[in-house]
Symmetry: C2
Subunit: 472 residues, 2 copies
């Protein structure tokens, strides 16, 4: 069988070397599982032939982009073939006059935006992992980022897809027009399906003109709850910023320690970005200042200097790695990392997270794209301690319960994978039957990323990447 | 059976009167077919019970909103039950601080915007039939309108749905958060499915702050091709207007004759709207003026006066009815009425339409939401002449061929129904198998709006509403 797979992609796009297999068993989550073979297809035809072969032989296939996912979507828990899509990284068309571009699934987010920049255009979702994540991966998880409040998520930009189905059949769904009502909008069904319904081999994306100017404010608060209220107050104005990033004391402390960004030493801060026409940006920055002060900000600092803004942004982006250097015995893990709630529920939700952390004796750093209600947390655990994992697991369950209770979702932009599967199943109880039926229809032999989402069974701390026994 | 259906909805929400049945056999298309019974459910529970009953007894069920569809989506070609959803018209929640509202499917578009206006918010798609069409119908057809270029289509606003499946099961898909990656995005699969996969009983919509100001320009051109080039030039600037409406000589003449709007007497005009912050609107209007002049506009007139803008908008909206008064023997019919092409293809497409009309000896009025590439045409036919219908049908086929050849779609916003079904099947050949498989999975007894979309067989001039023999 390996010989047949190799013959489809060619020797240099195929590997069963132990080091490769081990490496391809990771994504950026806490999970790991070694696949049996790794391939790097170059064409849709190759993807089709591999799937046809895998389908006939009931071999699991997992399509993988940049491997930046935080919840195990790209971890091949059933072994089989990992299909690394990063070589299908051609930018095929940029048509600014028609507001779209056509790209291979392996194109990296930042690379696409570099290619669009000379035209004055961009693909807006702005994921935190933009330097490394691929467009295919973004489609598969409905990824977004700090600018979703103003610009939407990946789902809002997918005009069309080429997809290879489990049986190797190639379909083209959607259009190259700004809108269509022509048949089922399958392109939007494949968005967020995490490689379980088909493998994306081409993406047609709507693109948008880049804003002419942006400005940022850093507002410091003496409580997380006030920072949360600041977010709601800005949106309710209504003032739609391009981003509001929230960081709690733990995140601020971690970033200031490692990055020397000089964020104010406070309980919580909001990093607020507005963008658009220079005249409007100026007015909106003033409005933001007024609102922050009304809520009781300790300090509000502004900038339109690209260097200062880049420094602040880098500080915010450093939260995730910085938290791993919080204390010697701790590792920052992605558990309950991507909740989204109705915007007005942020204050009570962040306060609830703090109480849950205290009650369960875990350290939780809370940050995230608060403007659209998307909160990230990172737990600091001792990865070698069974107790630490158990505490973490309990805190996760309570956090998701709190989020669902206020009408939120367990994942706003990262996807379900493994780490959120049991809680997605609670949140989405009424659609699990339809999800299973559609999966069964499109992938009757269950070869595409099997065992994930609604199929997941067991604890979220199975398949741990850490060198400790599998507690769960 | 009728007695059982009556007992579910109650006497006053049930009818088998000939006049009612005849009336409910129409939508705004050229098609007609009388159903067997009409019901007006008031609750999700009633919808569920009717579907369970219909599914057990293999009775076709067609959910109907305002009946404003132009392609026969709401014509019950297989008879059975027409389910008029207009009594489920409650606006259940308006949460501007969370940027969403929750409504029954029977809420009328304009009524929703009236309710949102006091908060400074709106639901942007702006369908031409906004006075009468329902939110449920908009979701079912992925409706939009003149503002899609800037604000997107209905699909971009659907955060969540309550849907009753064919077997009566009630599911809730999506969230009340701005974004989610939690399980399959079924809400976006139901968008545009035209009542063939389930019946929508509640819609959660994202809402947006209303722009503070708008301005309009009317630019007159001596050729349709130049007007088309004007559209492309504005978008490519890039300048994203809130709308560009295109009207050809036939439409201008018809509107001026019936409405006295005083549009310039020319070959083609663009009605360009920009909106947003007052300062930006002022700058953009100047840019629009420059671009129109560069393309060679004969005249460009501006206004920010709400009365003048309303007059122009009314003129544009009057195209459809006005065309019916073009000449005594003619009726304006919706055939090939909703093509969408990549924006830069508008000039060659509109020229192609003119040639096709001449070649086939039919009068075609071309107008539409040109900014997003969406062109409407109306054919003026003698409804009592078989030859006229045959000419029309031939012109339709050629128009759709031209549209597909430039990468366009047969329907941008109206849906497929009957009138576009054979051409949608050509356009979407590669996904018909998946569409059928999903339909079969969710509606195994094929009771939901049967015979439409991919199931349609035969000519588009079957089931004609006109008092002439069924030519096809």
């Amino acid at each position: 069988m390996l010989a047949q797979i190799r013959s489809i992609v060619g020797e240099k796009n195929f590997s069963t070397r132990i080091a490769d297999l081990y490496t391809y068993g990771f994504d950026a989550s806490i999970h790991h599982r070694t696949p049996d073979v790794v391939v790097q297809p170059r064409t849709t035809e190759q993807v089709s032939r591999i799937l046809r072969f895998a389908n006939e032989n009931r071999i699991p296939v997992l399509a993988r982009g940049g491997g930046t996912g935080l919840c195990g979507s790209a971890v091949p828990i059933k072994g089989g073939i990992v299909m690394d899509m990063t070589k299908m990284n051609q930018i095929k068309e940029i048509r600014v006059e028609d507001l779209y571009c056509v790209v291979g699934p392996g194109v990296i987010y930042d690379k696409l935006n570099e290619a669009l920049a000379p035209y004055g255009f961009f693909f807006p979702p702005t994921p935190g992992s933009g330097e490394a994540c691929t467009i295919g991966g973004m489609v598969a998880t409905n990824a977004s980022g700090m600018r979703a409040i103003k610009y939407g998520a990946t789902r809002d930009y997918v005009l069309g897809l080429e997809v290879v189905l489990a049986n190797g059949e190639v379909i083209r769904t959607g259009t190259r027009t700004i809108k269509n009502s022509s048949g089922y909008q399958l392109e939007r069904l494949f968005v967020g399906s995490e490689g379980t319904l088909g493998i994306i081999t081409e993406v047609t994306l709507r693109i948008a003109p880049k804003p002419k100017k942006s400005a940022m404010a850093v507002a410091a608060f003496d409580s997380l709850e006030k920072a949360g209220r600041c977010v709601s107050a800005i949106i309710a104005k209504p003032l739609i910023p391009s981003a509001i990033e929230l960081m709690d004391r733990i995140c601020i402390k971690a970033v200031n320690k490692t990055m020397h960004v000089g964020f104010p030493d406070c309980e919580a801060l909001c990093l607020i970005e507005v963008d658009g026409d220079p005249k409007v940006v100026e007015d909106e920055v003033k409005e933001v200042h007024t609102i922050c002060k009304e809520i009781g900000a300790i300090s509000v600092e502004f900038s339109t200097d690209p260097k200062q803004m880049a420094k602040w942004t880098a500080g915010r982006k450093a939260v995730l790695p910085a938290l791993s250097r919080y204390g010697d015995e701790y590792v920052s893990v992605s558990l309950a990392d991507d909740m989204s709630v109705p915007i007005s529920k942020i204050p009570e939700t962040v306060v609830a997270f703090q109480k849950i952390a205290e009650r369960n004796n875990v350290i939780v750093g809370t940050y995230g794209h608060a403007a659209d209600g998307n909160l990230h947390t990172k737990m600091l655990l001792n990865p070698l301690s069974e107790e630490s994992w158990k505490n973490g697991e309990k805190a996760v369950a309570e956090i998701f319960e709190a989020v669902i209770a206020v009408g939120g979702t367990v994942t706003g932009e990262h996807g379900v994978g493994i780490s959120k599967a049991p809680y997605m199943k609670k949140e989405r109880e009424s659609i699990l039957g339809v999800m299973k039926a559609i999966k069964q229809t499109l992938d009757p032999n269950n070869i595409l990323n099997p065992g994930k989402l609604m199929e997941w069974e067991g604890s979220i701390i199975r398949y741990l990447r850490y060198p400790c026994r599998d507690f769960a």
